[in-house]
């Protein structure tokens, strides 16, 4: 197990190293630069050049990359060219919106996906189960933006229950308002992600129903449903953990879109603004942090999976 964990950790570090190089290079391919934007349409080419120099943009690429990596080893994610603030500080600030949003979305997805997925599998021969499955199919195909707009129209504009956009200026000092501001965005992401989870849980459950051990348990006198719950679900659970890793990545991508739509001051909205402003040191810090987060989730999922699945442990 320890050897497995160490190998897996090595892969994680390698993954981060490759990601850092890819992120750095991919951003350098973007046309346009921040000096041009700061200078604007009134600046002469000489002024833009002076700005470029003062922002440290005329340093060779490899030096910029090494400087960035060096900073990472000292725990420094970089500094914004536009505001001069530390990327890490801004990430922590914006994560106060994005992390609760992701957690709430995940909760919604789990609440929607798991019980309904099982119900839908158990009731596959009944109208309700089929309806659920069809609904999930449809919902999973809904673009997050559209789902968000619909929820806003109904719950914010029409019923007036929840704010249509924005985050309280007092932030979490006003916890009630902060939670209310996150409900619609979380529902939007959560319902769509939950529908995907539902379809997965349904098919995993259906597979479990067909397994010999469930049939054996049923033959020993358990009802089909109880046999499934007692013996089938632990196996379904294992694969769900793996899928959750992927879903967390999906939720983060969803958050980037949904923060735009709901004007939430989170990591996603900051990232979009920074790309538009070509604040590359900040963008690369943010992207690396997000990539790191997703990789770490994958790492944890793998370890947990291995810890609780005896078959994998034996295989090692």
């Amino acid at each position: 197990m320890i050897r497995y964990a160490l190998t897996r950790l090595g892969l994680l570090v390698l993954g981060l190293a490759v990601a850092s190089a890819l992120i750095f290079l991919a951003l350098r391919v973007l046309p346009g630069d921040v000096a041009q934007l700061v200078g604007g349409t009134q600046a002469t080419p000489e002024q833009v050049e002076a700005l470029r120099e003062s922002l440290g943009l005329n340093v060779p690429l490899w030096q910029q990359y090494l400087g960035w990596i060096g900073g990472l080893f000292r725990g420094d994610l970089g500094t914004s060219l536009l505001t001069g603030t530390s990327v890490a500080t801004e990430l922590v600030d914006k994560a106060q919106v994005t992390v609760p949003l992701a957690a709430m979305s995940l909760t919604v997805a789990l609440v929607v996906g798991i019980p309904l997925g099982i119900l839908s599998a158990l009731g596959r021969h009944r109208a309700g189960g089929t309806a659920l499955s069809v609904a999930a199919q449809a919902l999973a195909a809904v673009p997050v933006v559209w789902a968000g707009m619909m929820l806003v129209v109904v719950f914010a504009v029409w019923l007036g229950w929840l704010p249509p956009q924005g985050f309280p200026r007092a932030g979490w000092n006003d916890p009630g308002a902060a939670v209310r501001a996150l409900i619609l965005p979380a529902l939007t992401i959560g319902v769509v992600e939950g529908a995907m989870l539902l379809r997965f849980v349904r098919s995993a459950t259906l597979q479990a129903i067909g397994q010999d051990y469930v049939r054996t348990a049923a033959a020993k006198g358990l009802t089909r449903t109880r046999a499934l719950l007692r013996h089938g679900l632990p196996n379904v659970g294992l694969s769900i953990i793996t899928v959750l890793g992927v879903q967390i990545a999906g939720i983060i991508v969803g958050a980037v879109v949904i923060e735009q739509l709901f004007t939430l001051p989170g990591v996603g909205r900051m990232l979009v603004a920074d790309v538009a402003a070509r604040d590359l040191p900040k963008v690369q810090g943010e992207l690396l942090a997000l990539t790191g987060f997703v990789l770490v989730v994958g790492f944890v999922v793998d370890l947990v999976h291995r810890l609780i699945d005896p078959r994998q442990r034996e295989a090692a």
Partner: protein, 505 residues
């Protein structure tokens, strides 16, 4: 859980129905026109474009000027957007201009303090202007290039001398280069401010809002509200939703398609103001085939401006480079009338049939404009390819490298006719007569004469089909019925809010 999902699902279905039939809300606040102005009120304004930092001296962008000039920072003079951009006193109480147009003598206002409490001195003014002139990284620094000397003969006077007369100089001082800062200020201007205006910046939630608070030490009439929240909502339908939900007291650049939703609340009146925002279809005058005037004219004739304006809604026709708020404006309507037949003839004469052209357009603009142009040009046999880029790319490719055929951007600045007299500007329009007329217009000290010269130059630019002015933007503003004195014109570049009041019930 089932019930919750069922609720969410049915909500989605109802939502889909509503999208086609929805008009307004029935739980919105009613009109409130009877109340007295409440000095403790907060005014929340929804707008779209957020500044990237607060350093107005060094960072470009209309968002900074909109938020900070007149509200937080001031210069010797400023402009009144609602009075044809007339130049009015700010930190100077009055001024005289010598008959030769070279010496500007300003009398400084007494009792002005910066937000940190220190008093404004003539030295602060001289240093600010000198820095703006000398430091090329200061925005609009070039506007002061013509200044020969800046001095202060006594504590209440500042004298500027120009090398050559420039009738636009006073107007220049209403812009960024003329803003006055405290000498040797140690404020971190990226994230904080220290000005002399009626408001201070009290907090900035990046990605969200900028909050201004009334400055009680202000030299003039104190601001009418205790606090202003500039709520940055880039999505136009989200802005309308926020207005309908009662979260905003005013909303700028209202989406005209959603106007009825806002009106349906009964809580807003919709106003429309003039701007100097010229939606310009630029032709690369230096590059074939657009260096052929027949081709440029043909493209202009292929556009049905009235139909385009019906698509855009918040616009009016503008033929020629000078908008109504600027000196030299003339109503040139009719100078190019929609005539696709003539356009085809001209293209044939120029040997430019089956043209392939590319339109480079920043992706912040709605698709309706390029779509309209594609079909207009297709009708006369010009295939238009649309290249949507982000603004940063536009700045590099089009603005700096002049690598484009056609380009669309909105030129929002006031009095920017000089771009047509500058052959190295991205338009690439090089006409000696226009350059000569423009130079004369600046050099005269007679406003009427200057205006006439500009009008003449503008006619040539229009006759030469240097570009097409698709429309003049006249955006809609939703103003709460309990809000009074909200400014009207040029709000995309200036938003002076000191006089605005909000009444309580």
């Amino acid at each position: 859980m089932l019930r919750r999902t069922a609720l969410a699902t049915s909500a989605l279905l109802i939502g889909a129905l509503l999208l086609t039939s929805c008009s307004g809300s029935d739980n919105a606040p009613g009109p409130n026109t009877t109340g007295e102005a409440n000095p403790n009120a907060t005014l929340t304004v929804g707008l779209s474009l957020e500044p990237s930092n607060l350093d107005i001296r060094h960072t470009s962008g209309a968002a900074l000027e909109q938020a900070l000039i007149d509200n937080v920072y001031q210069g010797l003079v400023t402009r009144d957007g609602d009075e044809n951009n007339a130049i009015i006193p700010a930190l100077a109480t009055d001024w005289t201009i010598s008959p030769d147009g070279l010496t500007y003598t300003f009398t400084l206002r007494q009792g002005v303090t910066f937000h940190d409490g220190s008093a404004l001195t003539a030295d602060d003014v001289v240093t600010s202007l000198q820095t703006a002139k000398d430091d090329a990284t200061v925005q609009s620094s070039a506007d002061l290039a013509n200044v020969a000397s800046i001095s202060s003969p006594d504590a209440s006077t500042v004298v500027l001398t120009l090398a050559t007369p420039n009738i636009d100089f006073l107007f220049t001082l209403t812009g960024r280069a003329g803003l006055v800062f405290k000498k040797d200020d140690t404020t971190d201007f990226l994230t904080a401010t220290n000005g002399t205006g009626p408001f201070t910046v009290s907090s900035w939630n990046t990605g969200q809002s900028l909050t201004l608070s009334r400055y009680d030490g202000y030299w003039g009439d104190k601001a009418g509200v205790a606090e202003v929240v500039l709520d940055y909502i880039p999505d136009r339908s989200a802005a309308v939703n926020a207005a309908v939900a009662g979260e905003l007291d005013a909303a700028l650049e209202l989406d005209p398609e959603l106007r009825s939703q806002v009106e349906g609340t009964g809580a807003f009146t919709i106003e429309s103001g003039l701007t100097t925002d010229k939606a310009t279809l630029a032709f690369n005058n230096q590059r074939a085939p657009l260096n052929d005037q027949r081709v440029r004219e043909a493209l202009r004739l292929a556009i049905d401006h009235d139909a385009l304006i019906q698509t855009v809604i918040t616009a009016q026709t503008l033929n020629g480079p000078i908008p109504p708020l600027d000196p030299g404006y003339e109503d040139l309507t009719g100078s190019v009338s929609y005539n696709p037949d003539r356009a085809r003839e001209l293209l044939a004469e120029a040997g430019a049939e089956n043209l392939d052209l590319t339109l480079t357009i920043p992706n912040v603009y709605p698709n309706s404009i390029p779509t309209f142009l594609v079909s207009s040009f297709a009708d006369v046999g010009v295939k238009l390819q649309v290249d949507q880029v982000d603004f940063s790319t536009w700045l590099t490719d089009v603005y700096t490298n002049h690598d484009y055929d056609l380009s669309f951007v909105r030129h929002v600045e006031a009095r920017d006719f000089g771009n047509w007299a500058n052959p190295s500007y991205y338009f690439g329009f090089d006409n000696a007569e226009v350059q000569n007329l423009y130079a004369q217009a600046l050099a005269t000290t007679d406003e009427q004469q200057s205006s006439d010269l500009l009008a003449e130059a503008a006619r040539i630019v229009d006759d030469q089909d240097a570009a097409d002015w698709l429309f003049l933007s006249t955006p809609l503003t939703a103003v709460g019925t309990d809000v009074a004195n909200f400014p009207q014109n040029s709000l995309n570049v200036r938003l002076p809010l000191a006089g605005v009041t909000v009444s309580s019930e």
